[in-house]
Symmetry: C2
Subunit: 309 residues, 2 copies
């Protein structure tokens, strides 16, 4: 028996919810396939789609680290082989390492008889994030694992809140072909922020969450502002201002950086508008001389997809 | 014809929603009575309950300033007499000036034939706040005018969001007999805050708002944390730590400073628990040698009460 799990990409921060909020989209994402083997321990036997950049060593690979955290806690002593099929760009700001970690823990959990419920897997997937970027963030792994919008209310103790998803909310993502390391994107942040800016930011986060519950698309749009991080982080993304302008002129509800970039997301009401917005953003970026790919997706309420092969 | 309006006291900030969130309670509050007179202009003829501290001069009185802002915009040229009956302590952190301003604008609007809808009165009442504390805050006038929990999503343009009120949510307020000027309470605040603290604060605000929509009392309780302002502002409130400890040990969902203090509020599930919590807080304060009064109230969804006399 093999278990295949596809875990979705995610948009973290969502303009006003830095390190606190994220949502899942339907594509891209990563696939992990696991099967039992006669050799004890967890081995990564194959990685595709990474251009040879990811380590096969279990202890150095984020998916491996996450799966090992799970296996260690269960005391499982058998052998497991793991394949990782990257179906999304690395370093894109779309939660690439999170998608692999989530797919890995969901797959391994399924393979060994589901000792944990879905939500309990979060802390294992977070270990992969700790390996990838030094801090066990949950604003990508949370929505990739649980689907929909996820608020990380607290890390200590871990407390995640699943928020409602308005049905007509669609996301346009554009991934410009430049790479930004999460670490570099965090280095341009100030350690201290102005109190008055923080008030604006948390008022917008409050408005965004209220808008999700109210299914109020206009309120969601008015709340999608990031006055603290976007002004500096967007400097690392060529053509950002033109893309955002194109998105807003085309009728997006809001537009900002996905995670730490370089991907940029926009939220719109309805599939048609989201497709128009994605096209307008890509056209703007092409004018700036940069290649890119785009994804148009409703917000993914489903999370990981498990297939028994 | 006279118009009497009672406008309720309010709890602003609500732990994690500094300058962004407030809610109304049923008592205390202020009453304003207006009637037409033959002498053109707005005159304050009587103020009770203020111990002689509030100015009769219309241009210096927050209720007068708010009412004048409304009358100026309408171009109303007749005469109006106004009585202000303070039924709550001044400088208590319970939105005393806001209650007067809200009662005044609602009363005057009613008296001259209701040219404005309820929500439109907010910007006039905010002028009273500007007169009282130099900044046109809305986190007290908003809930006093509209009832319930009110989020100030944005000031420019003004955008307020009314949040749902879980039916069993009750508030205990204790007002220690010390006075803190809003200005002094703001002076102990830092102009810049740590980014990591801001993330904790806005994650909690997100959790609180989700908790209100979900009617999830435990989530509301877990979210009622203020790690930025309470640590310094509470130093100005004698016995704060003992009161908070008493509230939490008695089973309150959360406890923090009301507005800029010195009043302290706790939220609990149900009237009985809220009454126990109020008693425990008062006992703790009495041990610290301070007198106080307490108020126990469900969250006030009604806002101002208008009576035609």
């Amino acid at each position: 028996m093999s278990v295949s799990v596809f875990a979705p990409a995610t948009v973290a921060n969502v303009a006003c919810g830095f390190d606190a909020l994220g949502f899942a989209i339907h594509e891209p994402g990563d696939e992990v396939i696991v099967r039992k083997s006669g050799t004890p321990g967890l081995r990564i036997t194959n990685i595709t789609g990474d251009g040879g950049r990811l380590p096969l060593s279990t202890e150095k690979n984020t998916a491996g680290v996450s799966a090992l955290a799970l296996l260690t806690e269960t005391g499982y002593a058998g052998g497991i082989e793991m394949e990782i099929h990257k179906k999304m760009p690395l370093g894109s700001g779309l939660g690439s390492s999170s998608a692999s970690s989530v797919a890995a823990v969901v797959a391994v959990n399924e393979l060994i008889g589901s000792p944990f419920e879905r939500g309990e897997l979060l802390r294992f997937a977070m270990e992969g994030e700790r390996a990838a970027c030094g801090v066990a963030h949950a604003d990508n792994v949370g929505p990739s694992l649980l689907g929909g919008f996820v608020l990380i209310r607290s890390y200590d103790p871990l407390d995640v809140v699943q928020l409602p998803v308005p049905e007509e909310l669609w996301c346009s993502v554009i991934h410009p072909h430049v790479e930004i390391l999460t670490e570099d994107a965090r280095n341009v942040l100030r350690r201290r922020i102005r109190l008055e800016d923080a008030v604006v930011q948390w008022s917008n986060l409050g408005g965004l969450i209220a808008g999700l519950y109210e299914r109020n698309y206009q309120l969601i749009g008015r709340s999608l502002n990031d006055i603290i991080f976007e002004p500096t982080r967007s400097l690392l993304i060529p053509g950002f201002d033109m893309m955002k302008q194109a998105a807003m002129q085309t009728g997006a509800l809001g537009c900002s950086i996905s995670g730490s970039g370089p991907s940029v997301f926009a939220l719109s009401r309805g599939e048609e508008k989201a497709a128009e917005v994605a096209a307008a953003m890509q056209t703007a970026l092409t004018k700036a001389g940069l290649e890119s790919e785009t994804y148009v997706s409703s917000v993914n309420r489903q999370g990981p997809v498990v297939r028994i092969l």
